[in-house]
Amino acid sequence: MNEEIFEPKIIGFLCNWCSYRAADLAGTSRIKYQPNVRMIRVMCTGRVSSVFILKAFALGADGVLVSGCHPGQCHYEKGNMSARRRVVAMKPFLDTIGIGQERLRLEWIAASEGPRVAEVVAEFTETIKQLGPSPFGRRRDEN
């Protein structure tokens, strides 16, 4: 797959209560956005361990998006805060192992913020396009 039409493969971890529902809302509202983010539903961003994120990169993801409820709106009271601590802590590590912290993004998207999903996906896809393919992502040509 040649670079000028590089289409990032992004893994998204969305919490069941806010962000995944926001994605549902974006759908029901027929808001169009890039197809680059492939989403995984978790009950809470608190469940998104560093292992998930590293695994995604290890398997060749160009970017990882973690999205949960706004601070204070977490369905489990404060799981999203643990997620934030974890993401913050990981960023420098991603730099050191040569992946680059820009490839990991944390976003608060409430269930009612359908349009926000489209925005975030657009922005993040653009960021990753600028960064180019992940050093770990060795592509096989699709047919």
Binding site: W17, K32, R47, A111
Partner: protein, 675 residues
Amino acid sequence: MTEKVGVYICHCGSNIAGIIDVEGLAEWAGENLEGVTVSRDYRFMCSSLGQELIEEDIKNEGLTRVVVGACSPHLHEKTFRRVCANAGLNPYLFQMASLREQISWVTTDKDKADEKARALIAGAVRRVQLQEELEPSEVPVNPNTLVVGGGIAGIQASLELADAGHHVYLVEREPSIGGHMAQFDKTFPTLDCAACILTPKMSDVGTHDNITLLSYSEVEEVSGFVGNFDVRIRKKASYIKEEDCTGCGICIEKCPKTVVDDVFEAGLGYRKAVYRPFPQAVPKFPVIDYETCIYFEKGTCKACEKFCPTGAIDFEQQDSYLDLNVGNIILTTGCDVFNADQIPQYGYGRLANVFTSLEFERMCNAAGPTEGKIVLRDGVTEPQSVAIIHCVGSRDKNYNAYCSNVCCMAALKFGHLVMEKTDAKVTSFYIDMRTPHKGYEEFYERLQEEGMKFVRGRAAEVTNAARTPNEDGKLIVQAEDTLLGKQRRIPVDMVILMGALEPQVDARDVALQFGISCSMNGWFTERHPKLDPVATMTDGVFIAGTCQGPKDIPDTVSQGAAAAARVLGMITRGTVLIEPIVATINEDKCSGCRICNNLCPYSAIEFLEDKDVSYINAALCKGCGTCVAACPSQAISGAHFSNEQIFSEIGGLLYDVVGGNGAKAPAPESELVLA
């Protein structure tokens, strides 16, 4: 381990098939994804025929796993789990891929849509093969119900449940139930008197054997889960011994302190420091307002105590607490009204004869500050002309973008009341007249016949700056009459601002307390906007009335009854299934570091001193997985969201990336690939 996976791709009519090549997708899954033994596409998987299709395959083809690529799991996961169960397959061996919400509805490029669809199916297929049989635990439902908020919604819900023979705890923040409806004089479109239809229901609540009325109280804490909530109520000190008080009202009569009543009288009238919001208040007991009572301020007075015939006054009284256990909760916390002085050009607070809709409701009310007389701020002069301004704080991005639903009809009601009680001319300034209910449009026509004038144009400003003699001493409403395309200045004596309905100021805190979510505006979010309007995402917590969004009395009452019906369903069933998505600790791996102990929001994790390991109480665990992610020694595993399951889902999603091994069988145990 070789599983037999069945893959089912739904067309959802053209909703999915219109963008995604569903036949191609099913074919591809069958050919490329290891473990897939059956792969079909069908027009409507959720239809009974679609469901039978899956059941047949499970029985005849011996499927051990099922994947359905259709809509969001939030819509039909339950449906298909039931299908599996019917065919004897554990429902947790099923996985859903949201092809519609996440692809066909949001993607324009068909090829890219197909690519993403393959990824989602691959992810689901790989994940499902590692999913494990789970058994939801069944817990009994406590038949008692907590209703929060004593407005008409809460009253309706409480009576429905109580009449059905179940106990209700009705909590009300104010000294009396009744809510906004109790402030009104008439109700549209039938113009029957609000008090006449409300007060009987209020006294029913007050006297009902199955209702414990907790007025002047607030919910302090909520814990537990559907079927079995623990709730702590704080009963605010009223300094009145209810057991001794006869409600004779002598204390109120004798109280020397008069203050403006900003709550029930909407700031248009006065009350004493010891007060009962209105004569028909339920319960009948007055309360002493700590903030304004002379005794609490200066240490002397006690006039009420001196004159109370039954010695029911108790200045030493403290807040008391009440711990309840209930099976279900109905939130009917209602709404607030827009604070009109935020819009300077309408002059509220600056121009004396500009009133808010709530002030005007009180003015019309025979029991209100003016005994129902419609007068200017001086309290005596009857207006000759009245302007009613719609959409004050509604349909306005500067304040609230939404339509408040009731204002147009309330404006018509006001028009009628003004013309009935005075000789004043009434002009309404509207953007669009919205009367979409039974008998509403007819009411609009009736007001036209009664001579109410309508200017289609949002009032631009209300000013007291007269330009011509006929404007002198008047309030001038300036607006474009959009049907004429001309600017008009209409001099009037009185202006009524139809303020928007807004969420209660503390709505977000309440939502957080009960574990439900709010819309961006602050309205409580229902489980489904059309098909599940009174349930919330939290099982056992229901919502009704204006806390869910602006609505009028008929809709509010229907929702109150609907919520009660949902609760009755739960009570009748008697038990409820708890999702088995909980975390468990492998004692051999646990290092006893206790990191997880404080992380758990529900303190479901305790430390077993004797074994020196942590232990999770499944009954309290809600399955958020925070502890699982945090455990340094990987000793905690989250059912249905294990590392292995998520890893293989990632692998599938990245099927088209070398290293993803998308098409191959999932790696059984997790290896941390970063060497």
